[in-house]
């Protein structure tokens, strides 16, 4: 573990913590613009966080300790997730501790805890949200795993840093398997981050909400942590996408200069990705909840097809 590695690890975490709400703000802003609404400021998510942290937390009378614990667990999981995804550099001391599969497990861990917390108070909507979120999760997780497997087959490794290094150093050629996996990944990330065809992050419409139903009973600092965790999750997913499909510009070991360059590159990549996300959200309509399994099953099958293509063409 080098000093530079430690530095880049710290920088990755700090960058994630700071950039994640900004990314959410950027996506919201563009979505509003594309929908001909007047857009909120770019810093709106920070203001919301500040407001929530200052407020007192109102807990339901019957809420148990688990309920109070979950925001921290969810936040902790997402911070670790952002720490192991190569965002700025592949020289990450924490990276050997968790590979691509452990990353999927980490997301699952956070999801299970948040769902359990939603069931804890025992309201009608809490259980509903938990059920729906687990429904999205049980199809989205294997699909994400299969997408990561596609990349693993090419790089012969499930370590995220090795994947990024291999993919960044190959010749500029289009892998058919990665193309299919890319479509699958986009679908999965829309579902996992509660984005429009699956869920609408802006509404509190009782019958359709998923993510909002989960965190309905939270307020104050707990809600702030959960919202922050949600934006960290969006950030982590965007970075996984960038790492798998546009891995260029990420610094490697013993390259201090590249590390300085990596931050602006990442911001530019994220900015473009955020606009595209807003565009997708504007162009598509929210699905009925019963259609979501079909949507996710499609993503899952696409990812498996990606793997099959990989083996058929022998690119691995």
């Amino acid at each position: 573990m080098s000093l530079l590695g430690l530095f880049s690890q710290l920088m990755a975490i700090v960058a994630a913590l700071l950039l994640a709400p900004l990314l959410s703000g950027w996506v919201n802003q563009w979505r509003a613009r594309l929908q001909n609404k007047s857009a909120p400021g770019l810093l709106q998510p920070y203001r919301v966080l500040r407001k929530l942290f200052h407020k007192e937390s109102v807990l339901a009378e019957q809420a148990s300790t688990l309920f109070r614990l979950v925001p921290y667990v969810s936040f902790g999981c997402m911070v670790l997730a952002c720490a192991i995804v190569p965002t700025l550099s592949t020289d990450l001391p924490l990276s050997p501790a968790a590979d691509a599969m452990a990353l999927v497990g980490l997301f699952a861990l956070a999801r299970v805890f948040v769902s359990l917390a939603a069931m804890d108070v025992g309201t009608a909507f809490g259980g509903l949200g938990a059920r729906r979120d687990m429904l999205v999760g049980f199809l989205a997780e294997p699909a994400l795993l299969m997408v990561l497997f596609c990349a693993s087959m090419i790089s012969k490794s499930t370590s995220l840093t090795t994947i990024v290094e291999t993919l960044a150093h190959r010749e500029l050629a289009i892998y058919p398997s990665l193309l299919v996996a890319g479509v699958a990944f986009t679908m999965v990330s829309l579902a996992e981050n509660a984005r429009v065809p699956v869920d609408n992050p802006e509404t509190h419409l009782e019958l359709t909400m998923i993510h909002e139903a989960l965190i309905l009973e939270y307020s104050g600092r707990h809600l702030a942590l959960l919202e922050w965790a949600a934006s960290l999750k969006l950030f982590a997913y965007s970075c996984i996408g960038l790492a798998l499909f546009f891995p260029w510009g990420v610094a490697e070991a013993d390259a201090p200069l590249a590390l300085i360059m990596a931050l602006p590159v990442l911001v530019i990549k994220l900015a473009i990705g955020g606009v595209l996300l807003a565009l997708v959200e504007t162009l598509s309509a929210k699905m009925r909840i019963f259609r979501v399994p079909e949507f996710l099953a499609t993503a899952f099958l696409l990812a498996v097809i990606g793997l099959l293509v990989n083996i058929l063409l022998g690119v691995g």
Partner: protein
């Protein structure tokens, strides 16, 4: 055996035999003190747990030592008991010792006065069962194997029957013993094939035989059938969801966590040790059956509304995953790829251990819930985390492990299994290569679905508001129950956080069975699990946990320091609905509804919908196993028809029987003359 007289020269085998003997003595003591609950609970069961600990230590030590053999001069005159303790046996003894230590401690606090079978008798059956499973894994000839195997089946039959006054329980026990015996027939025939007409039934002789591929395949399929019936793989699983809920909870725990694995032990012993040839399609068959069981089990467990039934289906799922791992190891091994074979085998054996701990923990939790509330239907529970915090928090650990979440044991096994699937591109057959992504995808799907099931299990029982008023009087687990559960929790945590130390115990087994092993962890990287090399993949659960905990703690400190810790209690918000009752929570049926809808073709479902004019509208949905109707009932009808045909021979008149003997005589004479 002279070693028995001189304790200083004792080998591991003697210690295991000592534990077996003490277990039998404890059982006998229980039989003498039939109705003295206090004696059984406060002395005999804790003593038995102590024996389990001894067994655990012995097995721990025996895992890496040389195989030991012994011949016991009991049994029939020409057929002494051959025993052998090698790496594979030691590994399974480790499982038996580790799990039964917790379960016996739990059982000490579990049994109450006036429930079905008297406690002393349960104590006897329980310890005969424990002793027989310990003997099964040490058996070194077919004769002793069958004797102890049947002892295990019979003692477990009586334990399932503990509450024999309930007709459903009698029915479940009958189904169990029926399928166990059909399976035993398969095993017996398998040994018959393996000895290859030599008449010598010792395992050493079977190892020496070179069977032709045809007869080897026959032996493998018979073993798969026989041991599969006991392990509960498809389509011989029907007894499992009946027998597990019928048995008392500590015993369901042992059955699910240990007995199913003993069946897998038999399968391993025959297919990897006794059979010298390995054919690739065995692996594919085992993998296919395993995956089918896994998917079937997990889908059915999500829609169950009875807590032990839910866990029983989850056991089918987990055994299926283990079989998939064994199948993959067999496949690799048939193509001579020892490294990947060892990896797949390690993954499956790891799952054997971790499933042993988390599933027994979960079954113990159902027992504790049953005692606290008297309810076993999920629809009548809820909110228990407030009344039984000990049970709830230890169950949470089991639930996370069962859902295959890091950093607990279940995840390590799944991680290793998926890692071994990435090697299949090295297989020489392109057909098999194509199969792999599908298999890996199915495993990932099963793992994710088990998360769904476990959220349902924990959420409906322990979270939310109590669905019945009497739940507010629920009392937490007692001292012995707590001790047992905490021991199992510790097992789950150790299995999760110390994978390298556990894999070191599995190494001798993989060396024995596929003559390969996972690379040993480097001296500096004791916490880093590296299946092949660090470039390829690595996982460090301890650092993982530390990372999550550190971020949690930091977040907590910062939030409290920078802002404040003000909290107010208020009625729940729930989008402003004022009139809330606990009945408005998601029920167990409701939680399973999406799965019911998605996997509808797999179920046999009957729905009764209310009509708009009903004064008291009611909705009922029942989900049943279609295999019962498409396979078992027709089979039963066929057997019945057949026996009716045979029955026509029985005329009941002496003249007819004389005619039969006359005809037989003529036929025999004809045959002899030729």
């Amino acid at each position: 055996m002279s070693a028995l007289l001189a304790p200083s020269g004792w080998v591991h085998l003697d210690w295991v035999l000592l534990v077996v003997v003490v277990w039998l003595l404890i059982g006998a003591a229980g039989a003498l003190a039939l109705r003295r609950l206090r004696l059984v609970a406060t002395l005999l069961f804790p003593l038995s747990a102590l024996c389990s600990l001894v067994l655990l230590l012995v097995a721990f030590d025996a895992a890496s030592s040389v195989p030991e053999v012994a011949v016991l001069p009991i049994g029939l005159p020409q057929l002494p008991f051959h025993l052998r303790l090698d790496g594979l046996s030691a590994f399974f003894l480790l499982l038996i010792g580790g799990v039964s230590a917790g379960v016996s401690a739990f059982a000490a606090g579990y049994f109450r006065k006036g429930e079905g079978t008297p406690p002393g008798l349960i104590c006897l059956e329980y310890h005969v069962f424990l002793a027989s499973i310990a003997m099964v894994v040490m058996a070194d000839d077919a004769y002793v194997f069958m004797v102890v195997w049947e002892t295990m089946a019979l003692s477990s039959f009586f334990l399932v029957m503990a509450n024999h006054r309930i007709p459903d329980i009698r029915r479940a026990a009958y189904l169990y013993i029926l399928i166990a015996h059909i399976g035993a027939l398969g095993i017996l025939l398998c040994f018959g094939v393996l000895q290859a007409n030599t008449g010598d039934y010792t395992f050493a002789n079977m190892r020496a035989q070179q069977l032709s591929p045809f007869w080897a395949s026959v032996a493998f399929v018979l073993a798969l059938f026989g041991f599969g019936a006991k392990a509960g793989i498809l389509p011989l699983h029907v007894w499992l969801p009946e027998a597990h809920p019928a048995a008392p909870s500590p015993f369901s725990a042992l059955m699910s966590a240990v007995m199913l694995k003993i069946a897998l032990y038999g399968l391993l012993r025959v297919s990897f040790d006794l059979l010298q040839t390995r054919i690739w399609w065995w692996g594919v068959l085992l993998m296919a059956i395993g995956l089918a069981s896994a998917l079937f089990g997990v889908v059915f467990s999500t829609v169950q509304v009875e807590m032990k039934r839910l866990l029983a289906y989850s056991s089918i799922e987990n055994v299926g995953l283990m079989c998939a791992g064994f199948g993959l190891a067999l496949l690799f091994s048939a193509y001579g790829m020892t490294g990947p074979a060892a990896l797949a085998l390690t993954a499956a054996l790891y799952h054997v251990l971790s499933h042993g701990f988390f599933k027994s923990l979960l079954f113990c939790s159902t027992g504790a819930v049953l005692h606290a509330t008297g309810e076993r239907s999920l629809g009548k529970l809820g909110g228990l985390i407030r009344y039984t915090p000990w049970v709830a928090w230890s169950t949470l650990v089991g639930v996370l492990a069962c859902a295959g979440l890091p950093p607990l044991g279940g995840f390590v096994a799944e991680w290793l299994l998926l890692q071994s699937f990435l090697f299949t591109t090295g297989l020489p057959s392109s057909f098999l290569n194509m199969l792999v992504p599908v298999v890996a995808a199915l495993i990932a799907l099963v793992a994710a679905l088990s998360g769904y099931t476990m959220v349902k299990y924990f959420g409906v029982i322990f979270l939310g508001q109590p669905r019945e008023e009497k739940l507010a009087q629920a009392h937490d687990a007692g001292f012995w129950e707590r001790t047992g559960m905490l021991w199992l929790v510790a097992g789950c945590v150790v299995l999760g956080l110390m994978p390298n130390q556990i894999i070191a115990l599995i190494r001798p087994v993989t060396l024995l069975l596929v003559s390969g092993a996972m690379p040993q962890a480097g001296s500096g990287a004791g916490w880093l699990l590296v299946p092949v090399d660090a470039q390829r993949a690595s996982y460090a659960p301890a650092i993982f946990l530390l990372g999550v905990l550190a971020s949690c703690a930091l977040a907590y400190l910062l939030v409290r320091r920078l802002y404040h810790g003000r909290t107010r209690r208020a009625p729940p918000w729930d989008c402003g609905f004022a009139l809330q009752t606990p009945r408005m929570q998601d029920s167990a049926e409701g939680f399973g509804q999406p799965i019911r809808q998605i996997f509808e073709p797999m179920f046999r479902m009957t729905r009764e919908l209310p009509s708009p004019f009903d004064a008291e509208p009611s909705y009922r949905v029942t989900v049943e196993d279609p295999m019962w109707y498409t396979l078992y009932l027709p089979l039963a009808a066929f057997v019945e028809r057949l026996s009716r045909l045979v029955g026509r021979l029985q005329q009941g008149r002496i003249a007819v029987y004389l005619l039969y003997s006359f005809l037989t005589l003529i036929v025999v004479l004809l045959v002899v003359k030729q």
